[in-house]
Amino acid sequence: MNLRHPSGSLPRSSALTDLITSDATMPERLDGGLRRVLASKIAMGAPARSFGNLRLDSYSALEMRRAPSAARIFAWSPHTARRILGAPAARRVITAAASSPLAAVRTEIADVIARSASARVRPGSLGAWLAEAPHGVVAAVTASATEYATELTTLLDYRHLGTRVELGRADPIWAVPGAPWVTLRARRDVEVALDADHQTRALVALRPGRPTALATDDLGLVALVEALTRPEAPLPTRVVGIWPSSGKAVSLEVSQETCRRAARLVVDAVEAKRQRVAIQHVA
């Protein structure tokens, strides 16, 4: 596993930008055999469709390695709204559409609420929730999203990166052929084009807290899903994980072995999920 770290120079944004944009290795595409075998193993190993959709991202796949915890029902909260509002707000700042992360988040919230009023949005959407939320909740959401947007806005030297950087785009999702109720999602926040002609690129994933022993597996899974959803492009050159609250960053240089390891992790997670579903069903 090839890992690289940023230099200790300041400003940190320049050091991270240098790490992200350093020379790429010879681009290679995802092994077609791996794609077929992975799809087949997931289709065979996943819980039946009747047990509902199975959405796996790094967090949920790695969670399967731990002892089962009580199932959580999704609900909007400052935490769950943080990235959804914070990432587009950061894009507004980078593109000079807003003067600060806080101003951008306020605009983003107003837009989300306005869209929810247009009747094109389902009930229970973020906009519908925010439209009815008391002041205190809106404040908590704004504060959380502003922190995220600030981290993203100050993370890299965007002036140096120019138009090569894409920020806050929707996460790539791979619906498994043969088992489309199973989807893999890559949570990454920034994409930087390294060589437009060869479509080489680096991905940046912001993560909370501090890196754990599973950090590189997390980044590997991001690389795998990115490769699965863009078969026409080479593998991402690297996935850079950044943990702003602990000031840590690591670059995972992506290879076929990175993807094979991530694929095994996904297959293991699907198998673990099937066993849990079976136990719950029997109980």
């Binding site: 940190r12 909260s77 008391p134 504060a143 501090r210 000031g247």
Partner: protein, 260 residues
């Protein structure tokens, strides 16, 4: 310790733009090495999978840091929510209602919210009055913050030491200023519902040290504001403050290891 109760603490914290110290690029590495050297022999039998967690409060008052009362925890959480609201929305019309709504929206606070709701009418009214009084201090001593100062509230900061065997962590009530470049630019404010004590400078020093080790650059200033008394304290982040903080961290780890 020289505190004051007058003035906008943020103006004191930020100071004049033209009067900021140059960032010392070697300071973080030097202090980290010093910490690593002193902590390694003390923590050799700890496992990185179960690190020793230390907060600024835990370092200055290990015996008191363990269990504040639920009422104190609730008051602190409610005032933190109001700080966030003042910073991002600028105004608070109904302190207790707004703060409680913020807490209710956070599943991680469910237990605390349950505690608040389980108070009898007198207990609830007493807490609401306390929260309103603390908020009045915030409103008086925390001026409006321009969004271009990049304000962040209730931010978690941490840094791992001794191969991950020790984790220094803190929640900064308020951070302003973009990440440092050539000059120091980040200021941290600790808002507390307790009074300021003789140990407050030590606590602030450790907070500054965590920020230095996390970001690679020393913050410009650190401050504390007591919403109980209105006292405020602002410290320049000097090399001496950070060196003292290194000593405090090592002493706290040694004390914990001796007690274990």
């Amino acid at each position: 310790m020289s505190t004051t109760t007058a003035g906008d603490i943020l103006e004191t914290l930020r100071g004049q733009r033209t009067n900021r110290p140059t960032t010392d690029l070697t300071l973080a590495g030097g202090l980290r090495s010093w910490l690593e050297d002193d902590l390694s022999p003390l923590t050799v039998d700890l496992s990185p999978s179960e690190p020793m967690f230390l907060s600024p409060r835990g370092i200055v008052a290990p015996q008191l840091a363990a269990v504040p009362g639920l009422q104190a925890l609730a008051r602190s959480a409610l005032v933190s929510a109001l700080l966030a609201q003042r910073v991002v929305l600028g105004e608070v019309a109904h302190p207790m209602d707004d703060a409680l709504a913020a807490l209710e929206s956070d599943p991680a606070r469910a237990e605390l919210v349950e505690t608040i709701h389980s108070l009898d009418a007198d207990g609830f009214a007493h807490l609401a009055a306390e929260v309103a009084a603390h908020h009045a201090v915030l409103a008086r001593q925390l001026g409006s913050i321009p969004p271009t100062w990049f304000p962040r509230v209730n931010s978690r900061l941490s840094t791992a030491l001794a191969g991950g065997r020790v984790v220094l962590g803190a929640v900064a009530s308020l951070i302003v200023g973009p990440p440092a470049g050539a000059v120091a630019s980040v200021c941290l404010l600790d808002v507390t519902t307790s009074t300021l004590e003789s140990t407050t400078p030590t606590r602030l020093g450790v907070l500054a040290l965590i920020e230095l080790l996390r970001s690679g650059a020393a913050p410009l200033r650190v401050g504390a504001l007591s919403t109980a008394t209105g006292e405020q304290l602002v410290l320049e982040v000097t090399d001496q403050l950070l060196v003292d903080a290194v000593g405090d961290v090592v002493a706290a780890v040694r004390a914990r290891r001796s007690a274990a």
